[in-house]
């Protein structure tokens, strides 16, 4: 297993470099100009000077190699310095990847946004799992019962209704008509864990986006869990376990579920990068201003370095979690042996 992990990790590096080249090439070819958002009365010479100052004039390979060096070497060193307080390399004025629209280091902005992305999307993801698995298990166990039918119906609805519809609907009902929850998310609210009011404020502003998202997440996952459970409930070993005299509870939770969870856990692991890519539409509707919204805003203002950095980060997370999913699969299922 260890050799397998090392081999996969080493193979990931050229994969990531090729991914970055493809991202770079696509963005380089794409039309769009970071000065297009300036008022029209800014003369062309000034726009040209701004473009030069941002480094738009460099040839493709030069800017790609520069970015590679910043991304793989300089930025990790900066992060290391920041976390551990050391000073490797040039720590007073290091070279950073600069976002064109805000003229600040791209990573500063990304780190600023991770809290709200994780708070809302991370918790929605977890709640989605906590709802989906029991629902899927019970639906499969009591197949075609009332619970199963209702569960199927609700998950179908949750999956089919688009997030922008359910989100907007919840705002209209709960913010405008009832006035229970705020219509937008305040990212500057610092949760004071000793103050109940502060915690309640955070919960209040999170309830709607989390509910909307977890409904969506739970739908797909519960169907998958149900299918996986059904596969296993008809196996011979279940009959053996029951005839051995084990309680129904033990049979289902200890034996059947454990085997059904193998594909489900790998699916969950593969969905984790999706948390960071963000539920873009939900973030827009509730003004959560996380990483998804950042990607969209950067695309619209042709902020190429930001888009490159973000898409590369998402690609990186996907590669990493692919490996995690494979390793988890191997850990959970003793029949699977790598190398």
């Amino acid at each position: 297993m260890g050799r397998y992990i090392i081999r996969r990790t080493l193979f990931a590096i050229p994969t990531l470099i090729v991914i970055s080249l493809i991202i770079f090439a696509i963005l380089d070819l794409a039309p769009g100009d970071p000065t297009s958002q300036l008022p029209l009365n800014v003369p062309t010479e000034v726009r040209e000077r701004i473009r030069e100052a941002l480094g738009l004039g460099d040839p493709f390979l030069v800017s790609w190699l520069k970015w590679l060096k910043l991304m793989f070497i300089t930025e990790p060193i900066n992060a290391f310095n920041a976390i551990f307080g050391t000073c490797i390399g040039d720590c007073t004025d290091p070279d950073r990847i600069i976002s064109w629209s805000s003229r600040t280091p791209a990573f500063n902005i990304i780190i600023e946004r991770i809290p709200q992305t994780l708070w809302v999307l991370g918790i929605a993801f977890i709640i989605g799992i906590l709802i989906a698995i029991p629902v899927g298990v019970i639906s499969a166990y009591k197949q075609y019962s009332a619970f199963d039918n209702v569960g199927t119906f609700v998950t179908m609805v949750g999956f089919s209704l688009p997030v922008f519809f359910t989100g907007l609907l919840s705002i209209i009902i709960f913010s405008v008509w009832l006035g229970w929850f705020p219509s937008f998310y305040s990212t500057t609210h610092v949760v004071d864990w000793t103050s109940w009011e502060s915690i309640w404020f955070q919960i209040k502003q999170m309830i709607m986006p989390v509910a909307v998202l977890s409904l969506f997440n739970a739908a797909a996952l519960s169907r998958f869990t149900r299918a996986s459970m059904l596969d296993n409930l008809n196996q011979d070993y279940v009959r053996t376990a029951r005839s051995k005299g084990l309680s129904e509870n033990t049979v289902v939770t200890t034996h059947v579920m454990r085997n059904s969870m193998i594909p489900v856990v790998t699916l969950i692991a593969l969905q984790v990068p999706g948390i960071f890519a963000g539920a873009i539409i939900t973030e827009q509707i509730f003004r959560i201003n996380g990483l998804g919204q950042l990607l969209i805003a950067s695309l619209q203002s042709a902020d190429i370095p930001m888009v490159q950095t973000l898409t590369f980060l998402f690609a990186f997370l996907i590669v990493v979690f692919n490996l995690v999913a494979d390793v988890t699969y191997g850990v959970l299922d003793p029949r699977i042996r790598y190398d």
């Binding site: 100009d33 062309t44 454990r258 201003n289």
Partner: protein, 600 residues
């Protein structure tokens, strides 16, 4: 048990990560590498005494919503109105525009003029007398040296997005409170540098290290020190800016500003921000509401707030490509020399017919609502410089348009397909391009119908705004590789001379000048150039100036452009708010934020 343990471990890890992320809400901005955090104003000279005098800062938090979030706070680094507005709470210009488009002093004692000796007789120098006893928010005095520095900063750095300095020879500090600007040629309207929120004064001590190479990525761009009523307490790029009252602000003795803190929150769409003010009452102000008129009216009817519009020089107009089809030395390289359109070159009758066919009232009601008023002029400002010769365009007259095309021009429909032809047989079919935007597409749909009624077929095209306004793109407006374009242009402040000067022959964008220049229509009129030169030699006090502006405006709309709508900026104000006055379309809408207070 392995499975449960693994799941439990994963769950705990996820919780930990989420909790750490949330708890560090404020301090993550300091956890990055390299350099000072943008959130700390940790200068040792920062004053710590509470504000004195009356009720300044007692009003609580003011919540402002901008659906386009603020990305940085330095107008000189190239930006949109959203950033200028965010910066305007902190840094100030010497003079600013009020809601009526008049210049008012901001950091000076009076507006200079020839009478009071502030402007020299030969129109090459302007002298500003600064307000005494003004300090920056860090306690240091505001002096003429900072004003001079701002000029050095912008002219000394590549990428400074300000065109105000092109004809400035020097900026000199005569003494601590007096600044003289010298221009290279007589400038009747000298209020371009330091006028309006787009040209603020920056502190030398803070921005000195930002000149030159360091210009683009300077930390100070996110946290400028200013003389304004507020200072930045936390800046989250493209998200939220938090401000707190500036304890050194000169209005504190009068109880201004009323609000102690301001939150400028960005994100979402215009509809969302309007809803948060007008429906749920959670915020006090929402900016730039490009919302469908009926939806906005519905929200306003709920009674929690008001919607107001501020107009300036923004005019959405149809621009007719004036490339001369018969000129082989065509400087515009229209379509690389192939097939320029034969319709619009100096064709005043055709332009008139096209303009008469358009029902501007209907267009304004359908597409713009309160945010647009029909206009027939590229200089639409109320006052003695407003032309009335083109007001015939306000009434749609299909019959007259058809008559002009049929009789005066001889464009008849000889083959009965509903489309007229030129005398040589070319059908009146052309391309009409604008940016991708619901309002613009609605406008195009209307124009298509109106022009079909007079026997013209316009192919409606649209490009993404990022491409349409890209100076380097073949699809961008400057290259004008199409027949008709539609977009909005506006002047800088109230400078009619500078704005109309863009229509001179020298300002035609062509490949030889790298497509630089504001005469995108390629309007080439010798009489225009002559009249403009006359204007540039006429002083502000001379009444002939208004007449010249009217003439220039009429020359442009004769056949180069068909003005449609004078666009205003729509904003919503909560009923709890008062003191904001009329919406200021000429400068930042937050120009008088120190006067805003809670009503009752």
């Amino acid at each position: 048990m392995k499975r449960t343990r693994l799941l439990a471990l994963l769950a705990v890890l996820a919780m930990l990560v989420a909790a750490c992320g949330g708890g560090d809400g404020e301090s993550t901005t300091t956890a990055d590498g390299g350099g000072e955090s943008p959130t700390t104003t940790s200068d040792s000279t920062e004053p710590t005494e509470p504000p004195t005098g009356g009720e300044a800062g007692s009003g609580g938090e003011l919540l402002l919503l901008q659906w386009q979030a603020v990305t940085h706070l330095n107008p000189y680094t190239g930006t949109g109105t959203k950033d200028i507005q965010g910066a305007s709470l902190v840094i100030e210009p010497l003079v600013e525009y009020n809601s009526d488009g008049e210049l008012v002093p901001s950091l000076v004692t009076e507006i200079p003029s020839i009478e009071n000796g502030g402007i020299s007789e030969d129109l090459t120098q302007i002298t500003y007398n600064l307000l005494p006893d003004v300090t920056w928010s860090d306690g240091t005095p505001f002096t003429a040296d900072d004003v001079v520095f701002t000029w050095e900063y912008c002219t000394g750095s590549e990428g400074c997005a300000s065109a105000a300095w092109a004809d400035v020879t020097t900026v000199e500090a005569v003494d601590d409170l007096t600044v003289t600007i010298t221009f290279s040629a007589p400038k009747p309207w000298p209020f371009v540098p330091y006028a309006g929120a787009i040209e603020p004064v920056l502190q030398r001590a803070q921005f000195e290290s930002c000149v030159g190479e360091a210009f683009v990525a300077c930390e100070a761009n996110l946290n400028p020190i200013g003389t304004g009523p507020y200072m930045v307490s936390e800046m989250r790029v493209d998200d939220t800016v938090l401000y707190e009252m500036n304890p050194s602000y000169r209005g504190i003795a009068d109880g201004k500003p009323f609000f102690g803190t301001v939150q400028l929150k960005g994100g979402g769409t215009a509809d969302d921000t309007a809803r948060s003010v007008l429906s749920t009452g959670e915020a006090h102000y929402a900016w730039n509401l490009q919302v469908a008129p009926d939806i906005l009216a519905q929200m306003e009817a709920e009674g929690n707030g008001v919607v107001d519009v501020g107009f300036n020089t923004s005019v959405e107009a149809i621009r007719l490509n004036q490339t001369n089809p018969d000129n082989p030395d065509n400087p515009s390289d229209y379509l690389e020399g192939a097939n320029p359109n034969p319709f619009f070159f100096e064709n005043a009758d055709l332009a008139r017919a096209l303009s008469l066919a358009i029902n501007r009232d209907e267009m304004a009601a359908v597409a713009y609502g309160a945010a647009g008023e029909p206009t027939c002029n590229v200089w639409p400002v109320e006052g003695p410089a407003l032309s009335t010769t083109n007001d015939w365009c306000l009434t749609q007259d299909i019959e007259e348009a058809n008559r002009i095309l049929e009789e005066d021009l001889g464009y008849v429909d000889s083959d009965g397909d509903g489309i007229r032809e030129l005398p040589d047989g070319t059908p009146l079919v052309w391309d009409f391009k604008t940016s991708t935007n619901q309002v613009r597409q609605d406008t195009q749909a209307l124009v298509e119908v109106y022009w079909a009624e007079i026997g013209v077929q316009a192919n409606m095209l649209n490009e993404d705004a990022g491409v349409f306004f890209d100076g380097a793109s073949d699809l961008g407006i400057w290259k004008f590789f199409t027949d008709i374009q539609m977009y909005t242009n506006s002047a800088v402040g109230a400078d009619a001379q500078g704005y109309l000067g863009d229509y001179r022959i020298s300002q035609i964008p062509e490949s030889s000048n790298d497509w630089g220049g504001g005469n995108i229509e390629r309007c080439a009129r010798e009489d225009f150039d002559a009249t403009w030169t006359q204007l540039s030699e006429t002083t502000l006090e001379d009444p002939a100036r208004n007449e010249l502006i009217i003439q220039l405006n009429d020359m442009v709309v004769e056949y180069c452009a068909i003005p449609l709508i004078n666009r205003g900026s729509v904003s919503a104000f909560s009923n709890e708010l008062e003191g904001y006055g009329a919406v200021n379309g000429w400068d930042t809408e937050l120009w008088n934020i120190e006067e805003w207070r809670l009503s009752g």
